[in-house]
Symmetry: C2
Subunit: 334 residues, 2 copies
């Protein structure tokens, strides 16, 4: 059994910390907020995971050096917007060669870096070339992992040994972990799938059915794959658990913020009002500029992403948008 | 506009006939049952498509030669078990070089032939090598096409001109048709996806969640693709609308007989009792022997299909089956 440090105490960090502790690992969870640490430690409950009890064996702390020291694995589970600042703060306490697993998904604005690329960027001056970075991603509602429901996930790393070590640690009685050599492809899927989930929500909001939604999910992943492979990622990643698998869960779930924001827009609400009503970050909207920039750079056509951009940012009527997609020039599937 | 003959008056044949007639094509629908012809002609309703009115312009007939003569396109829309006998009966009236589109899905027991291969087999003595055969397949609930809801579909043929002609005729204001050069791959997906839909239903019946279902759908299509590419089909077909797209619709729909049969089994009913309660053909169960035979022939591992076979035909407890799948040797995703 291993020692694991977890940075971040949101739903996903806590659901994974509970699973790891129940598997027998020694788990320390860090949060930047002392009040959150106190509340989690005392109540052993996470407010967004009702009914789940946090094992007594988990240590909560707001002491960052303590959380980073002497761990077999360090799990980054803070929201994507805090990844750079958290790693910057933690870097002095992270040993060279530390196995680091990231579960945050997103592209950093301006740099277009994925989350493990941001981590590498922050650590590079201290530790290069000894970094062992893994992206952990797949079709994984935290709420289901918190209930021990069967789940699969991908541990992706350029370094096969790092991926296998993460596979060993995250394998549990209900979680099956596959290794994958394509960290960049896995992270690209995680960052871009929310745009397609937004499109699926808009389709539902317009009153369209399963045929339209399956078409958007399938053709949406086709265009993400077209972009990703042009950027050097592996085609099979996009057909796998972190690609189409994660998009199926996100695009068909009524728990997804991206799907629900799209739903409101499809029902006639303005994008600005829908964003306001959701009240939290809608990753799909934030990912649009990055996707378009990468597509332009790679000279790849992404008709669904471009149409979502027109609806969200340029006032195109959703019904008209669907007609535009349907009436494009007749073509071959591949 | 074109003349189209449709053999078969089930939900899918009627939903397509209505769309084609509304697009301006001249449509004749044949049924083997004179009573059905009379009822459809008089009521302009199909009992399983409530609320849909059949256009007055459609001609219904039980005269097979009339339905097959002088058509730009002949659509085979009979259940898969009737494809061979229908084509045998119609063959003398089908002109050489006739464009034939099939929508029935399945593998013929014993021969392992797909439906267009069965058609080719029946017509070969009369017409070879002048056959123009297209498989039309995708994520397409008939109920949604009957309501003009946006839908995508694939027209697959070895002969590109045949695929394009079908594309032209089936394109409508709400249906987008992609051509595909891999007829065999498209038909293999249609025949085998129902086994995975059965597995998804079993998972739901056990009370498992979206994570498990997305994993079964993703990994299920991975093993169908592994088999199909070994048998000469194109990998991209399995990642496309007739592959993962159709499986998403079938595996997540509560309208699918295969999903519902699995659901009952997951809830504890015996496979025999579940089959009896569904009361209609459960294609996923019928497809298992063919899938296993092809997998053995191609020397390909299909763990999900093999596990479904154990549950359906050899008394394995569904919960135990899930544990077996989760506890397989750790591996790489691809």
């Amino acid at each position: 059994m291993s020692k694991v440090g977890i940075l971040g105490a949101g739903t996903w960090g806590i659901a994974l910390s509970r699973m790891l502790a129940n598997t027998g690992h020694t788990v320390t969870v860090w949060s930047a907020l002392p009040d959150e640490v106190k509340q989690l430690d005392q109540t052993r409950q996470q407010k967004n995971l009702p009914g789940m009890t946090i094992p007594a064996s988990i240590t909560f702390t707001s002491d960052l050096p303590a959380a980073c020291t002497d761990q077999a694995l360090l799990l980054l589970a803070v929201p994507s917007v805090y990844v750079r600042s958290t790693v910057k703060q933690a870097a002095p306490f992270i040993p060279a060669g530390q196995l680091i697993v990231d579960v945050a998904k997103g592209l950093e604005p301006d740099t277009m870096l994925t989350m493990t690329q941001v981590i590498a960027d922050e650590l590079s001056q201290l530790h290069a070339p000894k970094m062992r970075l893994v992206a952990l991603s797949g079709p994984t509602h935290a709420e289901e992992v918190a209930l021990d429901l069967p789940t699969t996930i991908v541990a992706a790393a350029d370094d096969e040994e790092a991926a296998k070590q993460a596979q060993d640690i995250f394998t549990s009685s209900f979680m099956r972990v596959y290794t994958n050599p394509d960290r960049y492809g896995v992270e690209l899927c995680g960052a871009l799938k929310n745009i397609i989930a937004l499109a699926a929500g808009i389709s539902d909001g317009l009153g369209y059915g399963d045929n339209a939604k399956a078409a958007l999910i399938t053709r949406g992943m086709t265009e993400i794959k077209r972009l990703g492979t042009k950027l050097g990622a592996h085609a099979a990643t996009f057909d796998g658990l972190a690609g189409i698998g994660d998009l199926i869960v996100t695009g068909t779930s009524t728990h997804s913020r991206n799907h629900n924001c799209g739903l409101l827009i499809g029902q006639g609400m303005s994008p600005a009002a829908a964003k306001k009503q959701i009240g939290m970050v809608v990753e799909g909207i934030n990912a649009i500029p990055g996707a378009l920039e990468l597509a332009a750079k790679a000279n790849v056509s992404m008709p669904i992403v471009e149409t979502v951009d027109q609806v969200i940012n340029h006032g195109l009527d959703p019904k008209e948008a669907v007609q535009q997609l349907l009436n494009r020039k007749k073509k071959a599937e591949f």
